[in-house]
Symmetry: C2
Subunit: 677 residues, 2 copies
């Protein structure tokens, strides 16, 4: 039995604060539960049973689940008593806890103590609850949620409001609900717990995940990773803009870094979307269909109207989905069933649809480069019975249909197709989101399951602070290329180093206390002669020592590093160098430790990747060498003593190798580092 079964699959329920006074929370909850097939005990002194214990004594059965609709200040004591009377799980709906100041925080701590002391599992507080239609269990204060139909998609939302909004939007899209949960303040049960619970649910088809914050980053990603092997997970993360103040007020927690959270969820195998509308589109498709695991799935596109087909093609290509040219053989087969008037190489424009529409779909789906077949058509019953034609098709790939037409007719057609297992969108934009989600899920799965590369950690005894030379030595120990260099105590040694290395060299101050050498004039480049060197030394600020090193040839520049995220632990970053790219945030992120494929893929995430692939006459970067640097940083991040390491710039040399021209290595104050290692 699953640990959260008493919560999500209870045999019996008690309602604290049950009521029949209109407008009250307890009244709404009582109404919501009126179809629950098991015993529901109403608790409310003076009206119903005075306590859970009294109800248990009278009914001879303990409630698996206690649902609390009473004020924050009374909740902890009531739950402690309920646990003593046999309750094993609780849902706490009221607000007024950590999201609302000091007093509320104290109430929340009292709830935590009840969980710790009694072992009761607690959902909330500050949530409208959860919905499990297949169990006729609507544990929310929105009684209309009783009418939601059972189906394959689970909603795991940070907030009760979003849980309901998504559940209703799914219903509008004709997709039923397996379980819909709003987490609220997550004093005990977290998103990871709910995902783990779902991992054991055979009725599950897909998960829609809404994330505002994650207290337990690695548990969350591990749970997603496990689920993705069984069912697709689609996630939306709040906080692209600065919504910190309001977010904090909402569930009493800091909003998590949007970028890191998205990167971590994607790395774990989730499909990421930008808003709740795309979330519904994506999960509607993935709840019905999953493509074989592979990168770069190809889409065959059949359209009965060229204009909307063009919108769909444009949206797919903009999203990076392949719409490959069809093979000679497919084009020939299409020529036999379509007039010669229209474009037929992909997209395939059928013109006004005729009874050959089914054959067109089949031919396209059989093309060797097609993994999913998308169809756009406006309902024109006089020309074609579209739902019948699509259901008659025996395609070699999954289908996605986009059906336009008069609202009621189109809704009926989409419902019919959905019931036949064909994901069905309202508009080209929605259809593009569906297909993109199928392709991304397939690509994600193709790279999961690979082994982590373990690099042997070189034994280095570092003392804080670490200077640039030492940081480069550490990186060199991992096989990262660094410039040939000499540490010089003073002017004389610098001249000797110039003689030894030959020009041009770079001369820098070597002072771990100065993090931004360039800004204080601490870097002098292009030093070729002893006169140059004297002039350069005159310009440098005072410093305990000097670093003289070979000047690297010009080339494109990257930034690579590893740092500790407060929620997710070590994160490896690769960004394009230069102020413009930094301003635009052109950075790829992955949780460490990296697999070899993950390290290799990071460059492809950059919007400016073309600059490192041989653009403008520069050498293309040696991807294996770049991946090696990222794996080295990943290993560094695994050391509990390392707080952060940044290579900036990491320059691409004419031979494609990359060289760390500057490096900063920061150690942690607490070298024990057990909290997120």
């Amino acid at each position: 039995m699953n640990a959260l079964d008493p919560l999500f699959a209870p045999r019996s329920i008690a309602i604290l604060g049950a009521s029949d006074v209109p407008g009250k929370l307890g009244t709404a909850m009582t109404a919501s539960l009126d179809r629950f097939p098991g015993p529901v005990m109403k608790i409310n002194p003076g009206r119903f049973f005075p306590t859970v214990a009294a109800a248990v004594a009278a009914e001879g059965i303990a409630p698996d689940l206690v649902i609390s609709c009473i004020p924050a200040a009374m909740t902890a004591d009531a739950l402690r008593a309920a646990a003593a009377a046999g309750a094993r799980a609780a849902l706490v709906c009221a607000g007024g806890f950590a999201e609302s100041g000091a007093e509320g925080t104290a109430h929340q701590q009292a709830l935590s103590a009840v969980v710790r002391d009694t072992g009761i599992r607690l959902l909330g507080p500050n949530t409208s609850g959860f919905i499990a239609p297949h169990a006729s269990l609507t544990a929310t204060f929105v009684p209309d949620a009783r009418d939601l139909e059972a189906g394959p998609v689970a909603v795991v939302a940070a907030s009760g409001g979003v849980n309901h909004a998504l559940a209703f939007a799914l219903a509008d899209a004709g997709v039923g609900l397996r379980l819909g949960v709003g987490l609220g303040n997550s004093v005990d049960v977290t998103q990871a717990d709910v995902l783990d619970h779902l991992c054991g649910d055979d009725g599950l088809g897909a998960v829609a995940l809404h994330v505002e914050t994650a207290a337990d980053g690695r548990r969350l990603t591990a749970a997603v990773r496990r689920l993705v092997d069984r069912v697709p997970v689609v996630a939306v993360v709040v906080g692209r803009s600065d919504v910190g103040d309001f977010a904090r007020s909402h569930t009493g927690a800091l909003a998590t870094s949007w970028r890191v959270t998205r990167a971590a969820l994607r790395q774990a195998g989730a499909v990421l979307v930008d808003d709740e509308r795309e979330l519904v589109d994506a999960v509607s498709a993935l709840g019905r269909v999953r493509l074989p695991a592979r990168p770069g799935s190809g889409v065959g596109l059949v359209t009965a109207q060229a204009g909307p087909g063009l919108l769909l093609t444009d949206a797919l290509r903009t999203a990076g989905v392949r719409v490959p040219p069809l093979s000679e053989r497919t084009v020939k087969e299409l020529g036999d069933v379509l007039p010669d008037l229209t474009y037929q190489r992909n997209p395939v424009d059928t013109g006004r649809p005729s009874p050959t529409f089914t054959q067109v779909i089949e031919h396209v789906s059989e093309d060797p480069d097609v993994d999913v077949t998308a169809v756009y058509a406006l309902l024109e019953p006089a020309a074609l019975d579209l739902p019948a034609a699509l259901q008659a098709a025996r395609p070699a790939t999954p289908l996605v249909a986009v059906v336009g037409g008069p609202p009621e007719q189109a809704r009926r057609a989409r419902a019919e197709l959905g019931a036949a297992g064909i994901p069905c969108a309202t508009t080209p934009a929605a259809g593009a989101t569906m297909v993109r989600a199928l392709a991304e899920d397939a690509a994600n799965r193709s790279r999961l399951g690979e082994d982590i590369v373990s690099t042997t950690w070189p034994a280095l005894a570092l003392s804080d602070p670490v200077d640039e030379h030492t940081a480069k030595n550490v990186l060199a120990g991992f096989g990262v290329r660094t410039p040939v260099r000499r540490v010089c105590a003073g002017r004389e040694a610098a001249h000797a180093a110039l003689d030894e290395l030959g020009g041009p060299v770079v001369v820098k101050i070597l002072d771990p206390g100065v993090l931004h050498k360039t800004e204080v004039g601490g870097v002098q480049v292009g030093v070729r002669t002893h006169d140059d060197l004297d002039a350069a030394l005159d310009r440098l600020p005072a410093s305990p020592a000097l670093l003289v090193e070979h000047m690297a040839p010009a080339g494109p520049e990257l930034i690579a590093g590893v740092r500790r995220d407060p929620v997710f632990g070590p994160v490896v970053a690769l960004g394009a160098g230069g102020t413009a790219a930094e301003t635009l945030g052109d950075v790829s992120l992955r949780l460490a430790p990296l697999t070899a494929n993950e390290a290799d893929a990071m460059l492809d995430d950059l919007a400016t990747r073309a600059l490192f692939q041989g653009a403008r006459g520069a050498a293309p970067v040696d991807r294996a060498r770049l991946a090696h640097v990222l794996l080295a940083l990943s290993s560094l991040g695994a050391d509990p003593g390392v707080a952060e390491c940044e290579i900036n710039p990491l320059r691409v040399l004419p031979d494609g190798d990359v060289v760390a021209l500057d490096a900063v290595l920061l150690l942690r104050d607490d070298q024990g580092g057990s909290d997120d290692a």
Copy 2:
């Protein structure tokens, strides 16, 4: 009477190829027209009247509009005969014209000849037609379009399929249609013609514009500009990705540059959206509400559920819409009607809605910094009658509502609110698009109507090709700062120039045949001494002359230019310098001539604008000086002899002024330049 009234408001209609054989185009069209109140003459030899002339003779009335459902090869002759019989407008539905090869192109040329010879106005060919519900006129081969309700929104689509898709999507959003037109191949009637026609339509509330291509760029933008004074225009442009082949096959025309078309439409006052779903959202809102013209409208946000409210806030802020903190007074007023548990500074989280919801909306709308009030609520009839509460409100600003809930109930609530003039969205994403569209329309209008700055054109007799020195002289004539420089015939003159100017100088080859000097080693920087100069001259390739100029201090770099777009004529561009920004396409575009405000606003379009506003210790750019450069380029673009001028780089100096470090000026082969001047 409007020139297109015979087309869109005919008193009588003839159908060429009318039929009652199931599945035929002519049958569908005949069915579509069965509710048209005027005479409809069916033409089909052997079945109905043999010719339009025969019908006219029999009925004693000429058709204003002839709708052709016959094959491409027969169309021109039939239309010529119809025009002779008195027809003044035609709709040609068939495909098989310029979109489908040489034979079709000949058919299309024959149609053009009929238009030229007879003056008949022609919509199409290759379109499913148009819909005018208020006139009970459904001139499309989708008979179900008869049931579309009349309303305020016109659809002007490049394609018949998109016209229908948008009309049905608007119906699904509860928004009625004024006129829905699919242009097809636009042999005569263009989007500009339809927009001009709509400009005289008092029943119009808003226009949804779908653009694949524009043959007449300036006519299109002029028509949009005129319309925007009366009603809002929302536009989606196809071609963000490369869809050229398919697009060409679709209407026989090249897809227009996506970036230039979007920039031109925005400059003319249109609100730009990314896909057809956003188009429906935006036009649904703007068809009911328009904000006062002003930049930076503020949104007051009231939410009954914090989670969805957070999604809405995040989407608005990400789109650059202001969600300002409410005034002390507003916060105090809210404190009187809301419990102290929730966030109330904007967004205003009411918690579970109560009867004070109406007052909360009113208080927020009265805040001095709020121009539009957005409301999110899930339907909870037991807690609040939401439609009644919203309609009872007497807000000081327009409202936008986002209503979640059980699909049927929510649809009814949204319809009720829509009928009361309150735009109503299904999800936070849709609501954010609505509010963003209202704010953008208001901002667009605040900058329209300003005068063009005319700069006196300095009399310069230029001969092709123009070298860098001459190009800089031209720019200097417009008051653009250029480096102090000397043209030198050889080595000796260069040394004299160094003495005269003082170091450091830059030495370049002066050869108009070399467009990319840097790539051939033709630019040597940092020359301070005569030794440096000799070394630099040794490194330069052979050249007819040399340019020695003051080397500018370091600073952020821009690229500015003007070039001729084949569709829109002169376009001014401002971009961030450097390879990363260029790769990411961080460029602002405006059609020339520019107004002073337009020139000033271009910097704000850049994603990297912070780099030019004082980031990282650099001087902020002097905006007036930068605008002056853009206005100079705008004036240059007005000269019919100028093909293109690019300043790259345009460097920001420590005093904030900008200096043209390099400039290219290309003249046109045909200096008459009447085609797009």
